[in-house]
Amino acid sequence: MSNEIVTIHSNNRDIRIPCNYLRIHSKRAGVPEEIVNMCELALQELLTNLVEHAYAGDPNKLIKVVFSITPEKITIQTYDTGIPARVNLNHVRMPSPDELAEGGYGIAIIQSVMDEVNYFTLNGTNTWELVKNLKQRIRITDK
């Protein structure tokens, strides 16, 4: 599969479009269901964060999502022009369940299900890159 691009408006309804796209194309490519679920959860959490924090709920902004599925890994990149994230990816922790916190799980969940999580901002564009390595190579059938 070459790079595939899905661009959405920044609202919680449209988040489902790239999530469904990822699910359909990953399954068609032979990615195991468990891996698909993890990648979809990570993408859902990331896009929810972008809608809520980067664009502060403005539904008219755009988020570009780029997918790449190879026999070795799944790579998801998002591009937005919202408020840069103020996060140190080396110091993210999952809130303790005893705290009964109603937020603050997103990045920690993403890190726990993906193998690589990278973020940088350059010239007004924020880029997130999520990578999931495939332990067993898949034979790409979706061309």
Binding site: N12, R16, E33, E34, L41, P97, L100, A101, E102, G103
Partner: protein, 114 residues
Amino acid sequence: MPLEIKTTEQIIKIAIVTLNGRLDAFEAPALRKICDKFIAEEYTHFVFDLTDVSMLDSAGLAVLISVLKRARLNNGDVRLVWPKADAASRILKLTKFDQVFVSIEKSEIVPKGF
């Protein structure tokens, strides 16, 4: 001496909420609104039947946590019927909320013996 009979009545209001589909950031506000209404009507105990929830994200989880907190403040509690789908149960395990919410079987939702 005549039989002394004392009776007490205890009414516990239990809301049973059955969900089918994605419980994500888009759907979470609708669920929160329904739960707010139950709490305003003094429901203290909640059962969320997640059997057929296909996907659960942190926004959906936040609603369940919010209800749990408010139920406990009113001496109530929340029970979950565990989702069948891995895409829904995964987040409960990742966040360790599988150790916070008490899970019940679907057959336990309605008390037997009546």
